[in-house]
Symmetry: C2
Subunit: 233 residues, 2 copies
C-alpha cells in the first residue's frame, strides 16, 4: 500500500493517465425500518477490482461503494453510501468524468413507507411493504445532456437469457457497453473470485473465458483505455 | 487460538463445565429472488462474544450463525445458516441443551412468493412482495414440551419503549430472561463494539452500565452460570 501511495504521488502514467474514472461497486441497502432492509447480493469484489485496475492504469478514480466488507483500494477516492438515492447523488457529485463504470448491484426498488421506528410483529397481521422504484443510476447518468461521461459502462447480472437481457439493457439505458454475467447459483460468481463475462456493444458480443475478477478488471480497463482513446475529440 | 484449542482438549473447568449451550447470532437473510433478499441489521458481534464467553466458562457450545463477517470462535461448533427456517432447523438439531441463548436478529417475515429467477423490472409495474411470517425460533423452542433447555434467554432489540417491549416479549415467548437494548441510531449499538443492556425477568429489571460487547458477554455468562446452578435438579 505504501508503494501504491508513493506511485500515486508521481506523475501518473499508463493508458488512462489524465482521465477521471467513476466506478460504482457493491450492493445498496434500502431501509424497511431502522433494523430491516432490502438488499442485493453483491460482494463488491468485481467493482473494487475495476477501481484498482483503473488506478493502476493511471486514472484518477472515484469509487462510490455500497456496504461491503472490502478495504478501500489505495490511491482511490472512495465514497461510502447505503441507498440507491445516496449512490446517485454521490455519482452526480463526482462528475465530470471521462469514463463511468457502473458495477454496483443497485436495488431496483425501495420501500415507500419505510418506518422510523421498528415495525412490531402483531398477531396474525403482516405489514404491507409498499415498494417504489429507485432512480436508475445508469440510465440517469447516460441520458444526461450535460456532463455525460463520454464512455458509459453498465453491468447486467442475469440468471437467464444473459445476452438477450444485456442487449435490451444496452439500448434501454443508453450506455456504450454492457458487461454481462450469469449469476445463477450454479455459476458461482456471486461472492466468488472468478467471473465469466460477455462484453455487449450495439454491434458485437464478445465472450471472455472464465478469469479471476482481477483479470477481468485489468482486461476491461485496457479495453476502455483503447475505446476512450478512439473517442478523444 | 492455539492456547484456546489446547485448553479445549483438557478437562473443561469453569462455571459452565459439563453444560451444553446453544447460541444463535447474526441476522437472517430471506430471499426475494436469487439476487435480492430481506435482512435484519446485525453484525453478530454480541452473539459471537457470548459463544466465546460460554466456551471460556467451560461449556460445550454450539453457535448457529446467520451471514456475518466474523471468524468462527475457536473451540465452538459453528453452524452457518442463511434463513430463519434453516436457523430453527439447526437449533432443533443441536438439542438437547442446558441453556439456549437466542441473540440472532431473526427476520420476522419472509417473502412467500420468492422467485427462482431474477425478477425483471417492467415499465411502471412494481413487483408485489407477499410476506409470510417466519417461525418464531425463541417461542418455538421455549414452548417445547420435550427437550426445552431449562434456561432460555431471548434478546429484544428495540427503538422505543425498550423495557415495556421486553416485558411483553418475555411473557409472550415463554422464556426465562430477556436481554433488551436500544438499537435506535442515536444509541450506536448496531455494528458497534459496546452495548447498554437491561436484564428483564418476570420479577425484576436490571440495567447494566455501557460495557464492551465482550464484557456484556462475560457478565451474562456468569449470571447464567449462577441461574443454571440454581435450576439444577
Amino acid at each position: 500500500e505504501i508503494a501504491a501511495a508513493v506511485e500515486g504521488l508521481l506523475a501518473p502514467s499508463g493508458p488512462l493517465a489524465g482521465r477521471h474514472v467513476i466506478v460504482t461497486s457493491g450492493p445498496t441497502h434500502e431501509p424497511i425500518d431502522p433494523v430491516r432492509y432490502i438488499a442485493n447480493r453483491s460482494s463488491g469484489k468485481q467493482g473494487h477490482a475495476i477501481a484498482k485496475a483503473a488506478r493502476e492504469a493511471g486514472a484518477r478514480v472515484t469509487l462510490i461503494s455500497g456496504p461491503v466488507t472490502l478495504p478501500d483500494p489505495p490511491g482511490v477516492t472512495t465514497v461510502h453510501v447505503e441507498s440507491a438515492r445516496a449512490m446517485l447523488e454521490a455519482v452526480e457529485g463526482a462528475l465530470p468524468a471521462d469514463i463511468g463504470i457502473f458495477a454496483a448491484a443497485v436495488a431496483d426498488w425501495r420501500v415507500a413507507n419505510a418506518g422510523e421506528q421498528k415495525i412490531k410483529k402483531k398477531d396474525g397481521a403482516l405489514p404491507s411493504l409498499s415498494l417504489t422504484e429507485n432512480p436508475d443510476i445508469l440510465a440517469t447518468i447516460a441520458r444526461r445532456t450535460e456532463n455525460r461521461p463520454p464512455l458509459m459502462v453498465g453491468f447486467a447480472a442475469e440468471t437467464e437469457h444473459v445476452i438477450e437481457h444485456a442487449r435490451q439493457k444496452l439500448a434501454k439505458k443508453g450506455c456504450d457497453l454492457i458487461v454481462a454475467n450469469d449469476v445463477s447459483a450454479e455459476a458461482g460468481v456471486m461472492g466468488g473470485d472468478s467471473n465469466t463475462v460477455h462484453l455487449v456493444t450495439a454491434s458485437a458480443v464478445e465472450t471472455w473465458p472464465t478469469l479471476s475478477k482481477t483479470e477481468v478488471a485489468r482486461k476491461l480497463v485496457e479495453r476502455l483505455g483503447a475505446m476512450a482513446e478512439g473517442a478523444k475529440p
